[in-house]
């Protein structure tokens, strides 16, 4: 079964990092990223640009605004798809992601969502 891993982070805090701080963070992430890749459960892994556009229905028509859909402190910064036999295995795999180990002060964290078999009820 497939599961979606959303990696969150606080954009404003992250943008305050110096180039060196950011490079150091990336270096620390590498170890974890490798573990995730070696697990054999990774379907895809991508980082997301902070720039975003929201599109909502207004009077039945798509209305475009810039900025995230919801104004939260943390926004999604990474999108990973994993394959696991069940939710607990997915937890174990998702826990390999750097955002589960690092970036506490940057609001890093993971949301794990099972991918539904059919449509939402």
């Amino acid at each position: 079964m497939r599961y979606l891993v959303l990696a969150y982070g606080d954009r404003s805090k992250m943008e305050k990092l110096t180039k060196e701080q950011f490079a150091a963070l990336v270096a620390r992430c590498k170890v974890h990223d490798e573990e995730l890749k070696r697990s054999g459960h990774l379907v895809s892994a991508d980082s997301l640009e902070w720039d975003c556009v929201a599109i909502r229905p207004r009077g039945g028509k798509p209305t475009v605004t810039d900025g995230p859909y919801a104004e939260l402190r943390e926004q999604v910064g990474g999108l990973i798809l994993i394959e696991a036999r069940d939710l607990n295995e997915a937890v174990r795999i998702a826990s390999l992601h750097p955002a589960a180990h690092l970036g506490e002060e940057l609001g890093w964290g993971i949301e794990l969502r099972p991918i539904a078999a059919g449509c939402h009820q």
Binding site: V31, E34, E35, H41, L87, V91
Partner: protein, 418 residues
């Protein structure tokens, strides 16, 4: 090669996982090691051929891959380097414990670990179902009518607790065993129940779960001479023996009095009865042994009419003393209705239902409906079956009640298609 590995996964996966759990001292590491071992086999075996001792190869490979993983992760967690060294230098063979099949002992170690008193009972059940029986979190969640995320959390917390308390992967010593066994038997019973009579959904049972429970029960009965272990095994075998007769070709429920006794598995009944006799010889009549005795009376009876209902009422009386519950009272009432006739049965059932506890229990209303039907009080019988219908969460059970309604000339209010 994929088929070979799939077959090996099904037949040996759980045993290998149990051995890895002992070697690595951690359930998550064991799960990862198991996955890695099979991945390695998929890569190496097409090239090098299937090894003579495939199980041993997988265990050994899983262990080495785990050590490698820990050494890699020591880069961000130094404690893991120590763990890696410890696993590397420790004896791979199990300490003490006799048994010709060390892997069987590891499965038992694992079940005792999962049913450890450090864990709340619901966690014991969840952990056993997942780690020993190999059920998916989502399946276990469905069985307990709990959200998958909540079940996942329960399992995560259980594993964390075992780690924190440094619970050893060892069989309990002989003194501790009986108490620890209680929890294990309860879990096995629940697994069988889920397989034999799924708590909700379209199909009546899941043969794989029932078979798994029987396998576990047999392992327990063989390792431990406790009469209740034999009693439980007997009970499961006797229930399972009637599997083919319980359901007709359309997947509909066949009531006991209509079951084709020729479809009963006589071999399973023979083994069940033999195990029961073993259990009874100890003269300590535990609840599983008593339930097995009840099942044996049914299984051995040549027909429903020729069933020894007097003996059954007596057995239910013993059972309610040992393990009082309203469900036992209900089943006794149903036996009473057969021994003394529907009027007596109805009186007892009305008494029980007045207590309120069985109000939302479909079989209680169905039992009442059956008595009313046999008394020719059709309108009341229909009303009772309607109630049972409304309360049933099981498709085949509901269809059975609807069938009874049709036989009584009613149009079921919750009619389904063909």
């Amino acid at each position: 090669m994929k088929e070979t590995l799939d077959a090996l996964w099904r037949s040996d996966g759980r045993a290998i996982r149990a051995t890895l759990a002992r070697l690595l001292g951690d359930l998550d590491l064991a799960e990862e090691a198991l996955h890695d071992a099979f991945a390695a086999a998929l890569e190496a075996w097409p090239r090098d051929g299937v090894p003579a001792n495939a199980r041993a190869w997988l265990v050994s490979t899983g262990r080495f891959r785990a050590i490698d993983a820990l050494r890699r992760r020591a880069r961000f967690d130094v404690a893991l380097a120590e763990l890696a060294t410890r696993i590397d230098t420790e004896e791979a063979a199990p300490s003490g414990a006799a048994g010709d099949d060390p892997l069987a002992d590891d499965s038992l170690r694992l079940i005792f670990l999962c049913c450890h008193p450090e864990l709340p009972e619901e966690a014991q059940i969840a952990l056993t179902l997942r780690e020993v029986c190999g059920l998916a979190t989502e399946e276990i969640a469905r069985a307990f009518l709990v959200a998958p995320a909540a079940m996942a959390q329960r399992i995560v917390r259980a594993k964390a607790r075992l780690r924190e308390r440094r619970v050893a992967f060892e069989l309990p010593d002989r003194a501790e065993l009986p108490a620890r066994l209680d929890a294990v038997l309860r879990v096995v019973y629940l697994v069988f129940n889920e397989g034999y009579f799924a708590s909700s959904g379209a199909t009546l049972d899941r043969a794989d779960l029932a078979a798994e429970a029987i396998r576990l029960a047999r392992l327990l009965a063989e390792l431990l001479p406790d009469p209740e272990a034999n009693g439980l095994l007997a009970l499961l075998l006797l229930h399972d023996a009637r599997r083919a007769a319980r359901v007709d070709a359309a997947g509909d429920l066949v009531p006991l009095e209509e079951q084709e006794r020729s479809k009963f598995d006589r071999v399973a009944i023979a083994e069940g009865v033999s195990r029961l006799e073993h259990a009874l010889a100890a003269r300590r009549f535990g609840p599983y042994t008593l339930q097995a005795a009840i099942a044996a009376v049914h299984a051995e009876a040549p027909s429903s009419a020729a069933t020894d209902w007097t003996q059954l009422v007596g057995l239910y009386e013993l059972l309610r003393r040992v393990e009082p519950s309203t469900v036992v009272e209900l089943n006794r009432a149903a036996a009473l209705a057969m021994r003394d006739g529907p009027a007596a049965g109805l009186a007892r059932l009305d008494e029980l239902l007045a207590g309120g506890e069985l109000d939302h229990y479909a079989p209680a209303h169905a039992a009442r409906a059956d008595c009313l039907r046999r008394l020719g009080r059709n309108a009341e019988a229909r009303a009772a079956y309607e109630q049972a219908c409304g309360l049933s969460k099981q498709e085949p059970e509901r269809r059975f009640f609807e069938r009874r309604l049709r036989e009584l000339g009613a149009e079921p209010t919750t009619s389904r298609g063909s």
